[in-house]
Protein backbone atom coordinates (compact mmCIF):
# COMPACT_ATOMS: atom_id res chain seq x y z
CA UNK A 1 0.00 0.00 0.00
CA UNK A 2 2.81 2.38 0.93
CA UNK A 3 6.30 1.82 -0.44
CA UNK A 4 9.30 4.14 -0.20
CA UNK A 5 12.71 3.49 -1.72
CA UNK A 6 15.66 5.72 -0.82
CA UNK A 7 13.36 8.66 -0.24
CA UNK A 8 14.74 12.04 0.85
CA UNK A 9 12.79 15.01 2.10
CA UNK A 10 13.85 18.33 3.61
CA UNK A 11 12.09 21.51 4.67
CA UNK A 12 15.02 23.72 3.71
CA UNK A 13 18.47 23.58 2.16
CA UNK A 14 20.22 22.53 5.38
CA UNK A 15 17.47 20.84 7.34
CA UNK A 16 16.94 17.35 5.94
CA UNK A 17 13.92 15.81 7.69
CA UNK A 18 14.12 12.36 6.11
CA UNK A 19 17.19 10.65 4.67
CA UNK A 20 17.33 7.51 2.54
CA UNK A 21 14.03 6.11 3.77
CA UNK A 22 13.20 2.63 2.52
CA UNK A 23 10.13 0.87 3.84
CA UNK A 24 7.09 -1.07 2.77
CA UNK A 25 3.71 -1.29 4.40
CA UNK A 26 1.36 -4.03 3.16
CA UNK A 27 -2.36 -4.02 2.72
CA UNK A 28 -4.32 -4.43 5.98
CA UNK A 29 -1.16 -4.22 8.07
CA UNK A 30 -1.00 -2.46 11.43
CA UNK A 31 2.35 -0.73 11.72
CA UNK A 32 3.84 1.58 14.31
CA UNK A 33 6.35 4.25 13.44
CA UNK A 34 8.35 5.19 16.49
CA UNK A 35 11.21 7.45 17.32
CA UNK A 36 12.11 10.32 19.63
CA UNK A 37 10.65 13.77 19.20
CA UNK A 38 11.97 15.38 16.02
CA UNK A 39 12.88 12.02 14.48
CA UNK A 40 10.70 12.68 11.44
CA UNK A 41 7.51 10.71 12.16
CA UNK A 42 5.15 13.50 11.21
CA UNK A 43 7.26 14.29 8.17
CA UNK A 44 7.04 10.66 7.06
CA UNK A 45 3.25 10.66 7.37
CA UNK A 46 2.97 13.98 5.53
CA UNK A 47 5.01 12.49 2.74
CA UNK A 48 2.73 9.46 2.68
CA UNK A 49 -0.43 11.47 2.03
CA UNK A 50 1.31 13.81 -0.40
CA UNK A 51 1.27 16.90 1.80
CA UNK A 52 5.00 17.19 1.10
CA UNK A 53 6.74 16.42 -2.17
CA UNK A 54 9.11 13.49 -2.36
CA UNK A 55 12.40 15.12 -3.32
CA UNK A 56 14.46 12.08 -4.19
CA UNK A 57 13.94 8.35 -4.37
CA UNK A 58 10.74 6.61 -5.32
CA UNK A 59 7.41 6.31 -3.56
CA UNK A 60 4.46 4.12 -4.44
CA UNK A 61 0.95 4.60 -3.11
CA UNK A 62 -1.63 1.91 -3.85
CA UNK A 63 1.03 0.53 -6.20
CA UNK A 64 1.12 3.81 -8.15
CA UNK A 65 4.33 5.72 -8.67
CA UNK A 66 3.69 9.03 -6.96
CA UNK A 67 6.04 10.87 -9.32
CA UNK A 68 3.61 10.08 -12.12
CA UNK A 69 0.55 11.32 -10.24
CA UNK A 70 -0.73 14.56 -11.73
CA UNK A 71 -1.34 17.53 -9.48
CA UNK A 72 -5.06 17.43 -9.93
CA UNK A 73 -5.16 13.72 -9.02
CA UNK A 74 -3.68 14.36 -5.59
CA UNK A 75 -7.04 15.27 -3.98
CA UNK A 76 -8.51 12.00 -5.28
CA UNK A 77 -5.66 9.98 -3.75
CA UNK A 78 -6.02 11.84 -0.45
CA UNK A 79 -9.65 10.82 -0.22
CA UNK A 80 -8.45 7.22 0.04
CA UNK A 81 -6.21 8.03 2.99
CA UNK A 82 -7.69 8.95 6.36
CA UNK A 83 -5.41 11.08 8.52
CA UNK A 84 -5.55 11.73 12.25
CA UNK A 85 -3.37 14.79 12.75
CA UNK A 86 -1.11 15.29 15.73
CA UNK A 87 -2.89 18.58 16.41
CA UNK A 88 -6.29 17.12 15.35
CA UNK A 89 -7.01 19.97 12.90
CA UNK A 90 -10.66 20.15 13.87
CA UNK A 91 -12.43 23.32 12.79
CA UNK A 92 -13.38 25.22 15.98
CA UNK A 93 -16.39 26.97 14.44
CA UNK A 94 -18.01 23.68 13.45
CA UNK A 95 -19.63 21.05 15.62
CA UNK A 96 -18.21 17.54 15.76
CA UNK A 97 -20.92 16.41 13.35
CA UNK A 98 -20.05 19.19 10.88
CA UNK A 99 -16.34 18.50 11.18
CA UNK A 100 -16.88 14.85 10.34
CA UNK A 101 -19.38 15.78 7.63
CA UNK A 102 -16.86 18.04 5.93
CA UNK A 103 -15.18 14.97 4.43
CA UNK A 104 -18.55 13.86 3.02
CA UNK A 105 -19.03 17.33 1.53
CA UNK A 106 -15.63 17.11 -0.10
CA UNK A 107 -16.51 13.69 -1.52
CA UNK A 108 -19.89 14.84 -2.74
CA UNK A 109 -21.77 12.52 -0.39
CA UNK A 110 -25.03 14.00 0.80
CA UNK A 111 -28.48 13.32 2.18
CA UNK A 112 -29.23 10.11 3.99
CA UNK A 113 -25.89 8.46 3.19
CA UNK A 114 -24.03 11.40 4.70
CA UNK A 115 -26.09 11.16 7.89
CA UNK A 116 -25.60 7.41 8.12
CA UNK A 117 -21.85 7.60 7.60
CA UNK A 118 -21.43 10.34 10.20
CA UNK A 119 -23.52 8.42 12.74
CA UNK A 120 -21.61 5.22 12.04
CA UNK A 121 -18.22 6.93 12.44
CA UNK A 122 -19.29 8.67 15.66
CA UNK A 123 -20.70 5.39 16.98
CA UNK A 124 -17.40 3.60 16.30
CA UNK A 125 -15.44 6.15 18.32
CA UNK A 126 -18.20 6.39 20.95
CA UNK A 127 -18.91 10.07 20.49
CA UNK A 128 -22.58 10.09 19.42
CA UNK A 129 -23.55 12.06 22.49
CA UNK A 130 -21.11 14.88 21.60
CA UNK A 131 -22.14 15.22 17.96
CA UNK A 132 -23.49 18.72 18.52
CA UNK A 133 -20.56 19.98 20.60
CA UNK A 134 -17.80 22.26 19.42
CA UNK A 135 -14.24 20.85 19.50
CA UNK A 136 -12.98 23.32 22.10
CA UNK A 137 -15.69 22.13 24.53
CA UNK A 138 -14.35 18.58 24.33
CA UNK A 139 -11.68 16.84 26.40
CA UNK A 140 -8.41 15.87 24.74
CA UNK A 141 -9.51 12.26 24.35
CA UNK A 142 -12.85 13.31 22.87
CA UNK A 143 -11.14 15.60 20.36
CA UNK A 144 -8.85 12.71 19.50
CA UNK A 145 -11.84 10.47 18.82
CA UNK A 146 -13.58 13.19 16.79
CA UNK A 147 -10.44 13.41 14.66
CA UNK A 148 -10.49 9.62 14.20
CA UNK A 149 -14.17 9.71 13.27
CA UNK A 150 -13.42 12.26 10.56
CA UNK A 151 -10.53 10.14 9.28
CA UNK A 152 -12.67 7.01 8.88
CA UNK A 153 -16.02 8.46 7.82
CA UNK A 154 -15.35 7.75 4.14
CA UNK A 155 -13.98 4.21 4.70
CA UNK A 156 -10.47 4.90 3.39
CA UNK A 157 -8.25 1.85 2.76
CA UNK A 158 -5.40 3.57 4.61
CA UNK A 159 -5.51 5.27 8.02
CA UNK A 160 -2.55 7.35 9.19
CA UNK A 161 -2.60 8.39 12.85
CA UNK A 162 -0.04 10.82 14.24
CA UNK A 163 0.39 10.47 18.01
CA UNK A 164 -3.20 9.36 18.52
CA UNK A 165 -2.51 8.70 22.18
CA UNK A 166 -0.50 11.88 22.59
CA UNK A 167 -1.29 13.18 26.03
CA UNK A 168 -3.87 10.66 27.05
CA UNK A 169 -3.77 8.60 30.23
CA UNK A 170 -2.92 4.89 29.86
CA UNK A 171 -6.55 3.82 30.06
CA UNK A 172 -7.65 6.14 27.25
CA UNK A 173 -4.58 5.20 25.23
CA UNK A 174 -5.61 1.55 25.43
CA UNK A 175 -9.13 2.47 24.34
CA UNK A 176 -7.81 4.34 21.32
CA UNK A 177 -5.52 1.45 20.46
CA UNK A 178 -8.44 -0.99 20.66
CA UNK A 179 -10.39 1.30 18.36
CA UNK A 180 -7.57 1.44 15.82
CA UNK A 181 -7.21 -2.37 15.99
CA UNK A 182 -10.92 -2.70 15.34
CA UNK A 183 -10.60 -0.49 12.26
CA UNK A 184 -7.59 -2.52 11.15
CA UNK A 185 -9.62 -5.72 11.58
CA UNK A 186 -11.97 -4.41 8.88
CA UNK A 187 -9.11 -4.56 6.39
CA UNK A 188 -7.86 -1.00 6.75
CA UNK A 189 -4.10 -0.46 6.62
CA UNK A 190 -3.28 1.41 9.83
CA UNK A 191 -0.05 3.36 10.40
CA UNK A 192 0.42 4.89 13.83
CA UNK A 193 3.25 7.30 14.64
CA UNK A 194 4.16 7.60 18.30
CA UNK A 195 7.14 8.32 20.50
CA UNK A 196 5.78 6.02 23.23
CA UNK A 197 8.10 3.11 22.49
CA UNK A 198 7.57 1.15 25.72
CA UNK A 199 3.83 0.99 25.21
CA UNK A 200 4.17 0.00 21.56
CA UNK A 201 6.56 -2.91 22.30
CA UNK A 202 3.82 -4.58 24.31
CA UNK A 203 1.45 -4.73 21.31
CA UNK A 204 3.56 -7.14 19.24
CA UNK A 205 2.82 -5.24 16.02
CA UNK A 206 5.49 -4.36 13.46
CA UNK A 207 7.52 -1.35 14.51
CA UNK A 208 9.38 0.89 12.10
CA UNK A 209 11.92 2.67 14.22
CA UNK A 210 13.30 5.94 12.93
CA UNK A 211 15.78 8.41 14.34
CA UNK A 212 17.13 11.66 12.95
CA UNK A 213 15.30 11.04 9.68
CA UNK A 214 16.65 7.52 9.08
CA UNK A 215 15.04 4.10 9.40
CA UNK A 216 16.78 2.23 12.24
CA UNK A 217 14.81 -1.02 11.98
CA UNK A 218 11.62 -2.67 10.79
CA UNK A 219 11.38 -1.01 7.38
CA UNK A 220 10.39 -4.23 5.61
CA UNK A 221 7.61 -6.63 6.63
CA UNK A 222 8.65 -9.97 8.21
CA UNK A 223 12.28 -8.98 8.39
Amino acid sequence: MIEMYHVHMSYGPDSPALTDITLRIEKAEFVFITGPSGAGKTSLLRLAFLAEPCQAGQMLLFGKNVARVKRREIPLLRRRIGVVFQDFKLIPTMTVRENVGLVCDVMGIGGRERRQRINEALRMVGLEHKAGSFPLKLSGGEQQRAAIARAIVNDPPILLADEPTGNLDPELSRAIYRLLSEINARGVTVVVATHDIDWVRRTRKRIIEIDRGRVISGGMPDA
Binding site: P75, L76, K89, M94, V106, G108, I109
Partner: protein, 297 residues
Protein backbone atom coordinates in the same frame (compact mmCIF):
# COMPACT_ATOMS: atom_id res chain seq x y z
CA UNK B 1 -25.88 17.97 -7.06
CA UNK B 2 -24.81 17.70 -3.48
CA UNK B 3 -21.49 19.45 -3.99
CA UNK B 4 -23.04 22.54 -5.56
CA UNK B 5 -25.48 22.75 -2.65
CA UNK B 6 -22.49 22.79 -0.29
CA UNK B 7 -20.80 25.50 -2.35
CA UNK B 8 -23.93 27.67 -2.39
CA UNK B 9 -24.51 27.33 1.33
CA UNK B 10 -20.88 28.11 2.16
CA UNK B 11 -21.06 31.21 -0.02
CA UNK B 12 -24.33 32.42 1.50
CA UNK B 13 -23.25 31.78 5.08
CA UNK B 14 -20.32 34.18 4.68
CA UNK B 15 -22.50 36.87 3.16
CA UNK B 16 -25.17 36.55 5.83
CA UNK B 17 -22.68 36.33 8.67
CA UNK B 18 -21.39 39.85 7.93
CA UNK B 19 -24.54 41.72 6.87
CA UNK B 20 -22.99 45.18 7.25
CA UNK B 21 -19.97 44.37 5.10
CA UNK B 22 -22.12 42.59 2.53
CA UNK B 23 -24.61 45.46 2.43
CA UNK B 24 -21.93 48.10 2.10
CA UNK B 25 -20.22 46.22 -0.69
CA UNK B 26 -23.44 45.70 -2.62
CA UNK B 27 -24.25 49.37 -1.99
CA UNK B 28 -20.90 50.51 -3.32
CA UNK B 29 -21.22 48.39 -6.43
CA UNK B 30 -24.75 49.74 -6.85
CA UNK B 31 -23.56 53.35 -6.67
CA UNK B 32 -20.82 52.63 -9.19
CA UNK B 33 -23.28 51.05 -11.58
CA UNK B 34 -25.78 53.84 -10.99
CA UNK B 35 -23.13 56.38 -11.99
CA UNK B 36 -22.07 54.28 -14.95
CA UNK B 37 -25.69 53.81 -15.94
CA UNK B 38 -26.47 57.50 -15.79
CA UNK B 39 -23.37 58.33 -17.71
CA UNK B 40 -24.08 55.65 -20.28
CA UNK B 41 -27.59 57.00 -20.70
CA UNK B 42 -26.28 60.48 -21.18
CA UNK B 43 -23.73 59.33 -23.72
CA UNK B 44 -26.08 57.07 -25.67
CA UNK B 45 -28.81 59.70 -25.76
CA UNK B 46 -26.36 62.34 -26.82
CA UNK B 47 -25.23 60.17 -29.68
CA UNK B 48 -28.86 59.44 -30.52
CA UNK B 49 -29.38 63.17 -30.71
CA UNK B 50 -26.18 63.50 -32.68
CA UNK B 51 -27.38 60.90 -35.19
CA UNK B 52 -30.61 62.79 -35.64
CA UNK B 53 -28.76 66.03 -36.12
CA UNK B 54 -26.12 64.59 -38.36
CA UNK B 55 -28.71 63.36 -40.84
CA UNK B 56 -29.19 67.06 -41.49
CA UNK B 57 -25.51 67.44 -42.16
CA UNK B 58 -25.44 67.52 -45.93
CA UNK B 59 -23.46 69.25 -48.59
CA UNK B 60 -25.07 71.73 -50.92
CA UNK B 61 -23.16 72.23 -54.15
CA UNK B 62 -24.29 75.36 -55.97
CA UNK B 63 -23.58 75.22 -59.66
CA UNK B 64 -23.15 78.25 -61.92
CA UNK B 65 -25.62 79.02 -64.65
CA UNK B 66 -23.30 77.74 -67.39
CA UNK B 67 -23.38 74.30 -65.87
CA UNK B 68 -26.26 72.62 -67.55
CA UNK B 69 -27.37 69.03 -67.94
CA UNK B 70 -24.11 67.36 -69.04
CA UNK B 71 -21.98 69.30 -66.60
CA UNK B 72 -24.34 68.43 -63.74
CA UNK B 73 -24.36 64.78 -64.72
CA UNK B 74 -20.59 64.74 -64.57
CA UNK B 75 -20.64 66.31 -61.10
CA UNK B 76 -23.29 63.86 -60.00
CA UNK B 77 -21.28 60.89 -61.26
CA UNK B 78 -18.16 62.21 -59.64
CA UNK B 79 -19.99 62.57 -56.33
CA UNK B 80 -21.64 59.19 -56.51
CA UNK B 81 -18.30 57.51 -56.99
CA UNK B 82 -17.12 58.92 -53.62
CA UNK B 83 -17.16 56.45 -50.78
CA UNK B 84 -18.71 58.89 -48.30
CA UNK B 85 -21.64 59.82 -50.49
CA UNK B 86 -24.98 58.10 -50.04
CA UNK B 87 -27.19 60.00 -52.48
CA UNK B 88 -27.18 63.03 -54.75
CA UNK B 89 -30.30 64.96 -55.62
CA UNK B 90 -30.40 67.71 -58.22
CA UNK B 91 -32.44 70.75 -57.25
CA UNK B 92 -33.34 72.94 -60.24
CA UNK B 93 -33.60 76.70 -59.83
CA UNK B 94 -37.38 76.51 -60.03
CA UNK B 95 -37.48 73.78 -57.40
CA UNK B 96 -35.21 75.82 -55.11
CA UNK B 97 -37.57 78.73 -55.34
CA UNK B 98 -40.58 76.57 -54.55
CA UNK B 99 -38.81 75.16 -51.49
CA UNK B 100 -37.88 78.59 -50.31
CA UNK B 101 -41.41 79.81 -50.80
CA UNK B 102 -42.77 76.92 -48.78
CA UNK B 103 -40.36 77.66 -45.95
CA UNK B 104 -41.33 81.27 -45.84
CA UNK B 105 -45.00 80.33 -45.57
CA UNK B 106 -47.02 83.46 -44.87
CA UNK B 107 -44.13 85.68 -45.80
CA UNK B 108 -43.90 84.20 -49.28
CA UNK B 109 -45.17 87.40 -50.82
CA UNK B 110 -41.80 88.98 -50.06
CA UNK B 111 -40.41 86.96 -52.97
CA UNK B 112 -42.55 88.98 -55.37
CA UNK B 113 -40.23 91.93 -54.80
CA UNK B 114 -37.36 90.02 -56.37
CA UNK B 115 -39.05 89.56 -59.68
CA UNK B 116 -36.48 87.22 -61.15
CA UNK B 117 -35.53 83.97 -59.43
CA UNK B 118 -32.24 84.68 -57.65
CA UNK B 119 -31.61 81.11 -56.49
CA UNK B 120 -28.99 78.96 -58.22
CA UNK B 121 -29.49 75.30 -59.04
CA UNK B 122 -27.75 72.93 -56.66
CA UNK B 123 -26.83 69.34 -55.93
CA UNK B 124 -27.90 68.12 -52.49
CA UNK B 125 -25.37 65.59 -51.27
CA UNK B 126 -26.43 63.10 -48.60
CA UNK B 127 -23.58 61.36 -46.79
CA UNK B 128 -23.43 57.85 -45.40
CA UNK B 129 -24.25 57.72 -41.65
CA UNK B 130 -20.68 56.96 -40.57
CA UNK B 131 -19.24 59.67 -42.76
CA UNK B 132 -21.19 62.66 -41.53
CA UNK B 133 -18.20 64.44 -40.12
CA UNK B 134 -17.05 67.95 -40.73
CA UNK B 135 -13.52 66.88 -41.72
CA UNK B 136 -14.90 64.62 -44.42
CA UNK B 137 -17.19 67.34 -45.64
CA UNK B 138 -14.41 69.88 -45.69
CA UNK B 139 -12.21 67.54 -47.74
CA UNK B 140 -15.03 66.85 -50.14
CA UNK B 141 -15.76 70.56 -50.44
CA UNK B 142 -12.18 71.48 -51.33
CA UNK B 143 -12.14 68.84 -54.04
CA UNK B 144 -15.50 69.95 -55.37
CA UNK B 145 -14.54 73.58 -55.56
CA UNK B 146 -11.81 72.71 -58.07
CA UNK B 147 -14.28 71.08 -60.44
CA UNK B 148 -15.74 72.90 -63.40
CA UNK B 149 -19.22 74.35 -62.93
CA UNK B 150 -19.08 74.51 -59.14
CA UNK B 151 -19.79 77.93 -57.80
CA UNK B 152 -19.86 77.33 -54.08
CA UNK B 153 -20.09 74.47 -51.60
CA UNK B 154 -21.91 74.85 -48.31
CA UNK B 155 -21.95 72.27 -45.56
CA UNK B 156 -22.77 71.67 -41.91
CA UNK B 157 -23.12 74.52 -39.51
CA UNK B 158 -20.13 75.29 -37.38
CA UNK B 159 -21.91 74.62 -34.09
CA UNK B 160 -22.73 71.09 -35.18
CA UNK B 161 -19.05 70.42 -35.59
CA UNK B 162 -18.42 71.72 -32.12
CA UNK B 163 -21.27 69.64 -30.73
CA UNK B 164 -19.79 66.46 -32.19
CA UNK B 165 -16.37 67.28 -30.81
CA UNK B 166 -17.93 67.84 -27.40
CA UNK B 167 -19.63 64.44 -27.58
CA UNK B 168 -16.34 62.79 -28.42
CA UNK B 169 -14.59 64.40 -25.45
CA UNK B 170 -17.42 63.44 -23.11
CA UNK B 171 -17.27 59.87 -24.37
CA UNK B 172 -13.52 59.53 -23.84
CA UNK B 173 -13.73 61.12 -20.43
CA UNK B 174 -16.58 58.79 -19.55
CA UNK B 175 -14.62 55.73 -20.61
CA UNK B 176 -11.62 56.73 -18.50
CA UNK B 177 -13.65 57.68 -15.43
CA UNK B 178 -15.88 54.64 -15.84
CA UNK B 179 -12.82 52.39 -15.98
CA UNK B 180 -11.45 53.97 -12.83
CA UNK B 181 -14.59 53.59 -10.73
CA UNK B 182 -15.04 50.03 -12.00
CA UNK B 183 -11.54 49.30 -10.80
CA UNK B 184 -12.36 50.85 -7.43
CA UNK B 185 -15.47 48.67 -7.19
CA UNK B 186 -13.44 45.57 -8.01
CA UNK B 187 -10.97 46.44 -5.26
CA UNK B 188 -13.79 46.83 -2.75
CA UNK B 189 -15.34 43.50 -3.72
CA UNK B 190 -11.93 41.91 -3.52
CA UNK B 191 -11.47 43.22 0.03
CA UNK B 192 -14.84 41.87 1.08
CA UNK B 193 -14.04 38.46 -0.33
CA UNK B 194 -10.71 38.61 1.42
CA UNK B 195 -12.53 38.72 4.76
CA UNK B 196 -14.26 35.48 3.85
CA UNK B 197 -11.06 33.90 2.60
CA UNK B 198 -9.33 34.96 5.77
CA UNK B 199 -12.01 33.64 8.10
CA UNK B 200 -12.01 30.31 6.29
CA UNK B 201 -8.24 30.05 6.00
CA UNK B 202 -7.83 27.16 8.43
CA UNK B 203 -10.89 25.43 7.07
CA UNK B 204 -9.61 25.73 3.50
CA UNK B 205 -6.30 24.21 4.50
CA UNK B 206 -8.00 21.32 6.27
CA UNK B 207 -10.33 20.71 3.35
CA UNK B 208 -7.31 20.46 1.10
CA UNK B 209 -5.75 17.92 3.47
CA UNK B 210 -8.85 15.70 3.42
CA UNK B 211 -8.97 15.70 -0.38
CA UNK B 212 -10.94 18.72 -1.53
CA UNK B 213 -9.98 20.00 -4.96
CA UNK B 214 -8.79 23.61 -5.15
CA UNK B 215 -11.82 24.37 -7.32
CA UNK B 216 -14.19 23.10 -4.63
CA UNK B 217 -12.44 25.20 -1.99
CA UNK B 218 -12.46 28.35 -4.13
CA UNK B 219 -15.89 28.06 -5.72
CA UNK B 220 -17.83 29.56 -2.75
CA UNK B 221 -15.62 32.65 -2.84
CA UNK B 222 -16.21 33.10 -6.56
CA UNK B 223 -19.91 32.64 -6.02
CA UNK B 224 -19.85 35.29 -3.31
CA UNK B 225 -18.07 37.71 -5.60
CA UNK B 226 -20.45 37.03 -8.45
CA UNK B 227 -23.50 37.42 -6.19
CA UNK B 228 -22.32 40.68 -4.68
CA UNK B 229 -21.50 42.03 -8.15
CA UNK B 230 -24.79 40.83 -9.58
CA UNK B 231 -26.92 42.28 -6.79
CA UNK B 232 -24.98 45.54 -6.77
CA UNK B 233 -25.19 45.97 -10.53
CA UNK B 234 -28.87 45.01 -10.57
CA UNK B 235 -29.62 47.56 -7.86
CA UNK B 236 -27.55 50.21 -9.64
CA UNK B 237 -29.27 49.67 -12.98
CA UNK B 238 -32.65 49.69 -11.21
CA UNK B 239 -31.86 53.02 -9.57
CA UNK B 240 -30.63 54.40 -12.88
CA UNK B 241 -33.97 53.40 -14.40
CA UNK B 242 -35.87 55.22 -11.64
CA UNK B 243 -33.73 58.31 -12.20
CA UNK B 244 -34.42 58.01 -15.91
CA UNK B 245 -38.17 57.83 -15.36
CA UNK B 246 -38.01 61.01 -13.29
CA UNK B 247 -35.77 62.99 -15.62
CA UNK B 248 -36.79 61.77 -19.08
CA UNK B 249 -39.93 63.95 -19.51
CA UNK B 250 -37.79 67.06 -19.12
CA UNK B 251 -35.43 66.00 -21.87
CA UNK B 252 -37.93 65.50 -24.67
CA UNK B 253 -37.08 68.09 -27.28
CA UNK B 254 -37.75 68.87 -30.90
CA UNK B 255 -34.92 68.56 -33.36
CA UNK B 256 -34.85 71.02 -36.21
CA UNK B 257 -37.97 71.80 -38.20
CA UNK B 258 -40.71 70.13 -36.22
CA UNK B 259 -41.04 66.88 -38.15
CA UNK B 260 -38.64 64.71 -36.07
CA UNK B 261 -38.47 65.01 -32.29
CA UNK B 262 -35.90 63.51 -29.99
CA UNK B 263 -37.13 61.11 -27.26
CA UNK B 264 -34.61 59.92 -24.68
CA UNK B 265 -34.37 56.13 -24.34
CA UNK B 266 -33.26 53.84 -21.48
CA UNK B 267 -30.84 50.97 -22.03
CA UNK B 268 -32.48 48.17 -23.98
CA UNK B 269 -33.41 45.13 -21.85
CA UNK B 270 -30.56 43.18 -23.44
CA UNK B 271 -28.05 45.89 -22.67
CA UNK B 272 -29.35 46.20 -19.11
CA UNK B 273 -28.95 42.43 -18.64
CA UNK B 274 -25.45 42.58 -20.10
CA UNK B 275 -24.56 45.37 -17.67
CA UNK B 276 -25.84 43.31 -14.72
CA UNK B 277 -23.86 40.33 -16.00
CA UNK B 278 -20.91 42.70 -16.14
CA UNK B 279 -21.45 43.23 -12.42
CA UNK B 280 -21.10 39.50 -11.84
CA UNK B 281 -17.94 39.53 -13.93
CA UNK B 282 -16.60 42.38 -11.85
CA UNK B 283 -17.25 40.34 -8.70
CA UNK B 284 -15.46 37.35 -10.17
CA UNK B 285 -12.48 39.54 -11.02
CA UNK B 286 -12.43 40.90 -7.47
CA UNK B 287 -12.48 37.36 -6.10
CA UNK B 288 -9.71 36.27 -8.42
CA UNK B 289 -7.56 39.16 -7.24
CA UNK B 290 -8.20 38.32 -3.62
CA UNK B 291 -7.60 34.57 -4.01
CA UNK B 292 -4.48 35.20 -6.02
CA UNK B 293 -3.06 37.03 -3.04
CA UNK B 294 -4.23 34.75 -0.27
CA UNK B 295 -4.71 31.17 -1.38
CA UNK B 296 -1.85 30.77 -3.73
CA UNK B 297 -1.38 27.09 -2.99
Amino acid sequence: MRRSAVIVSRALVDLVRRPAVTGLTIGTVAVVFLLLGLFGLLASNFSGLADKLSSRLRLTVFVDDDCQRECRQQLQQWLQSREAVAAVVVVERQQALEDFRRRLGDDAHLLEVLGENPLPASLQVELRPGKRRTEIMAALATQLEKLAGVEEVQYGQRWLGRFFRFIRVVRTLGLVLGGLILLAAAVIVSNTIRLSVYSRRQESEIMGLVGATPAFIKAPFYLQGALVGLLGAGLGVGLAYLAFLVVAPWLRMPVGLGQSSFTPAFLSPTTALLVVAGGALLGLAGTAASLWRHLRK
